[in-house]
């Protein structure tokens, strides 16, 4: 009897927690959009139109919806990769580099004779994940064995991967004589088939959904996941419990790396490109930081956040094309959201509203302060 009451209470507490987190995220987004609106108001000649495009354009046409959903799939993967390393309390920032080596691996498969067979997609994705995993493993092992700071090493590896991609595209992968830094289109067998004809929505979306479920399952239903989370909570305790925290740390970074590699394959083999071009990633990888932070590194929350953020991102791109406001304004929005969600700011005016509704705020406030 008492146990069931406690279970109910526990569930209520969890829901209250989810509600509070969601509220905070939404408040942060609204504040950030408010700031963006002020900036647009001050700088644009047609601010209302720009803001209108930002907020409504992504769902205006099937094509733009496709762009949005395609972004969501990609943002989900990078968000998952960051969530995994954040849950292990590592700060590997290497998703960008993993995307490039993954994209390169996928491109080599796609442009080889294998690419023209049915193996083009599965093998391309597989090799991209192996390459990305290896690239994620490097800063992990350097930290585990030598104590080399993973933030610095992973960032350096990002730049190295970008230059490596530039080099290989120019010298090896581009057909001789062509002036552009883009490979030939991949054979159709090596390009992800579209799920909705005429849009960019392709089986990358399915990969993203599978990845969400897989990461959730790995984190919350397997011993590896529990070990990873325990290492993240308190590495000393994990060590004392007989968990080899360095192994967990390296494996977390490697698995996250494989996700980064998968993202690389989704870029180059997806409907959006279907070929390898330099600098194809366009800074999307780092936006996984925002996704992971707002989702509190919870895999099931990652796609939800990606859905919202992807919409904003797409809106900004369209605003860039259709109005005089550059899409980079979204960087400001991103930064503000990260700052607000990562900090202990509480929803503004909550006490005021509560008082207005005649509710007592003390228990909630006390709980929050006690955290």
């Amino acid at each position: 009897m008492s146990m069931t009451t406690e279970a109910v209470l526990g569930r209520q507490a969890r829901w209250a927690n989810i509600r509070r987190e969601t509220g905070r995220a939404l408040a942060a987004a609204i504040i950030a959009l408010g700031v963006a609106f002020v900036i647009i108001l001050l700088t644009s000649k047609a601010p209302l139109e720009a803001f209108n495009v930002l907020l409504t354009a992504p769902i205006s046409r099937p094509r733009t919806i496709g762009l949005w959903i395609d972004d969501v799939a990609k943002l989900t993967i990078t968000g998952l990769a960051f969530s995994l390393v954040f849950q292990a309390r590592q700060f590997s920032m290497g998703v960008q580099g993993q995307v490039y080596v993954g994209g390169l691996a996928a491109a080599y498969i796609a442009l080889s004779p294998i690419g023209a067979t049915w193996l083009g997609i599965p093998l391309g994705v597989f090799c991209a994940m192996i390459a990305g995993g290896f690239y994620g493993f490097l800063p992990g092992i350097a930290k585990a064995k030598l104590g080399a700071n993973e933030i610095v090493s992973s960032l350096m590896l990002n730049y190295i991967a970008i230059e490596l991609c530039n080099y290989l595209v120019r010298t090896q992968l581009v057909p001789p004589g062509s002036g552009v830094l883009t490979t030939n289109d991949f054979p159709a067998t090596a390009v992800f088939p579209a799920l909705v004809a005429g849009t960019r929505i392709d089986i990358g979306l399915i990969f993203a959904i599978v990845a969400v479920l897989a990461v959730w399952f790995a984190l919350y239903r397997t011993a590896w996941g529990l070990k990873l989370r325990l290492v993240g909570h308190n590495a000393q305790f994990a060590e004392y419990s007989g968990i080899r925290s360095t192994v967990i740390m390296v494996s977390a970074m490697t698995v996250a790396g494989a996700l980064g590699g998968l993202l690389g394959a989704m870029f180059v083999q997806g409907q959006s490109y279907g070929k390898l071009t330099i600098l194809f990633e366009g800074g999307l990888a780092f936006e996984g930081i925002l996704i992971a932070i707002v989702a509190r590194s919870r895999p099931l929350a990652v796609p939800v956040v990606a859905l919202f953020y992807g919409y904003l991102r797409q809106g900004a791109q369209l605003m860039n094309i259709r109005t005089d406001v550059p899409s980079e304004v979204i960087g400001v929005v991103t930064a503000i959201i990260i700052l607000l969600v990562a900090s202990s700011f509480s929803m503004p005016g909550r006490k005021f509203f509560a008082r207005l509704l005649g509710r007592d705020t003390t228990p909630a406030a006390a709980m929050e302060a006690g955290k």
Partner: protein, 514 residues
């Protein structure tokens, strides 16, 4: 004449609803040693933090020289002539003694930090108050007793009229305590006032002039030291007469753990445990006595596999532990309650269930093919919560939301959920309330009676004397004395060995080392 310092009806409730102080009155006269006593959790520390400006009271008044004061930070308290020596020292390890003493009030010429003047000042102070310390070495290299002197010098350097010592004897051996008392008396002779926080009553009665007793956040009385006895004071502290006692082992079993010629070195190369030989039998508790930092923790960690062994071997039931990983040691029947539950014993952000299963992630009951059996884990958690009467919302509650005593019960529950063959225990009741202490003591003796060999280390001599069947004294990583526990064994006897003043001959130890 108005008292030097007066606290009237102080109240403090922490965010989260913990009432730490609720109507505390304290009157300190100039030139006295005033003790504030009370159990752990009685609110002494909070009161001191309020006096020193770290916490601000919700209600009540502070009067200094009869005038109301309101400290918003330690700086203001320092400027008003109040100095504080915390139980955990506030010293920067890599800084030299003199740098630590003058930190925050450095002598300077222009913008330059005048080191020579600082060194001179420290020398002069340590002479004046008979607190001899070399000003030059980094404090990280000094023994605990010396570090404490640096702390006191720090307060004196800032011209503290009132010196608050927060449980200063907790980390000292009995003889070091005597030295501290000499210094305290010197301070009073020179016109300073000392507030002495403690819970060890004999010391309190020896050093103080007057005593304020606290219980459950209230001050329950003020008495003159020469008018009370230990017993009446204890009764005031707990509100009823209690005597903590446990039964000694009825019988003793076969040899369980044998440690042979063990040597452990630290990261910087210092020898922490040196050529140590010790045998522990099933069904007995062996107490490790020593001033903190004499190798007790390192010995336990080395046996548990948390620290590399430089030389020597530890056997459990005749099998060497050396080649075994931590998990394999646990599988062989080893359990350990670590020194610092927050740093090492728990993941406070994880749930109670996850904490309880953390050491059993290779157990087929909870993990099969790498997958967690959530049902079995939950059932086990509920069983342990019931058995160890842990007060918690449910298996899914985060450990960080529990009280100190309940957190420690989670650790104990995990380690004793399966009957261990060898149980390593370090500071089992530090910062734990009386009720939980009794519960944990009973759990330990039950494990012993069920056949566990127990190695127990504690900074609290009375805990060791209450629980242990045999006691070995460690000094600088070596066993210097061994005793069979009896009512005749006193802390003073142990103290002589703890400080290395005396050493037993091998023949003397023989009887107690069996």
């Amino acid at each position: 004449m108005a008292p030097l310092l007066q606290a009237i009806d102080i109240g403090k409730t922490y965010p989260g609803g913990v009432v730490a102080n609720n109507g505390v009155n304290l009157t300190i006269n100039a030139g006295e040693v005033h003790a504030v006593v009370g159990e752990n959790g009685a609110g002494k520390s909070t009161l001191m933090k309020i006096l020193f400006g770290i916490e601000r009271p919700d209600r009540g008044t502070l009067l200094l020289d009869g005038k109301p004061v309101n400290f918003t930070n330690p700086r203001e308290a320092i400027d008003a002539g109040i100095g504080m020596v915390f139980q955990h020292f506030s010293l920067v390890p890599s800084f030299s003694v003199y740098e630590n003493v003058v930190l925050g009030s450095e002598p300077r010429t222009g913008v330059r930090f005048d080191r020579q003047q600082a060194i001179e000042a420290v020398r002069a102070l340590s002479e004046k108050f008979r607190l001899s310390v070399d000003p030059l070495p980094p404090v990280g290299q000094l023994p605990v007793g010396q570090q404490q002197r640096v702390e006191i010098l720090k307060a004196l350097y800032r011209d503290a009229r009132i010196l608050i010592l927060d449980e200063p004897t907790a980390v000292l051996a009995p003889q070091e305590v005597e030295e501290l008392f000499v210094a305290v008396r010197a301070l009073v002779e020179q016109g300073r006032t000392v507030i002495f926080i403690a819970h060890k009553l004999p010391e309190v009665l020896e050093i103080s002039d007057r005593i304020t007793v606290m219980r459950a956040g209230k001050s329950v009385g003020e008495v003159a030291a020469r008018e009370v006895t230990e017993k009446s004071l204890a009764a005031m502290m707990v509100g009823r007469e209690v005597a903590l006692r446990v039964d000694r082992a009825a019988n003793q079993g076969a040899l369980a753990c044998e440690i042979k010629a063990l040597k452990v070195t630290g990261e910087n190369g210092a020898t922490l445990v040196d050529d140590l030989n010790l045998r522990v039998h099933a069904g007995e508790i062996v107490g490790l006595v020593g001033v903190e930092g004499n190798g007790q923790s390192e010995l336990l960690e080395a046996v548990a596999g948390l620290r590399p062994i430089a030389e020597g071997v530890a056997y459990l039931n005749g099998k060497s532990l050396a080649p075994l990983t931590i998990l394999e040691r646990r599988a062989a029947g080893l359990a350990s309650i670590p020194e610092d539950r927050l740093a090492r014993g728990l993941a406070t952000g994880a749930s109670v269930a996850e904490n309880l299963v953390a050491t059993r992630l290779d157990d087929r009951r909870y993990v099969r093919n790498g997958l967690l059996d959530l049902k079995a884990i939950k059932a086990n958690t509920e069983k342990l919560i019931e058995r160890f009467s842990i007060r918690v919302g449910g298996p899914g509650a985060a450990v960080g939301t529990l009280s100190g005593g309940n957190m420690q019960k989670v650790v104990v529950a995990r380690e004793l959920s399966e009957q261990p063959k060898l149980l390593l225990v370090n500071q089992p009741t530090r910062g734990v309330d009386l009720g939980a202490t009794q519960f944990i003591w009973r759990s330990l003796t039950e494990a012993r009676d069920a056949g566990a060999a127990v190695l127990l280390s504690s900074a609290d001599l009375s805990e060791l004397l209450a629980l242990a069947d045999r006691l070995v004294v460690l000094y600088r990583g070596k066993i210097v004395a061994a005793f069979v526990n009896s009512d005749d064994l006193t802390p003073e006897t142990l103290g002589t060995y703890m400080l290395g003043i005396a050493t037993q001959t091998p023949a003397e130890m023989q009887g107690a080392l069996r």
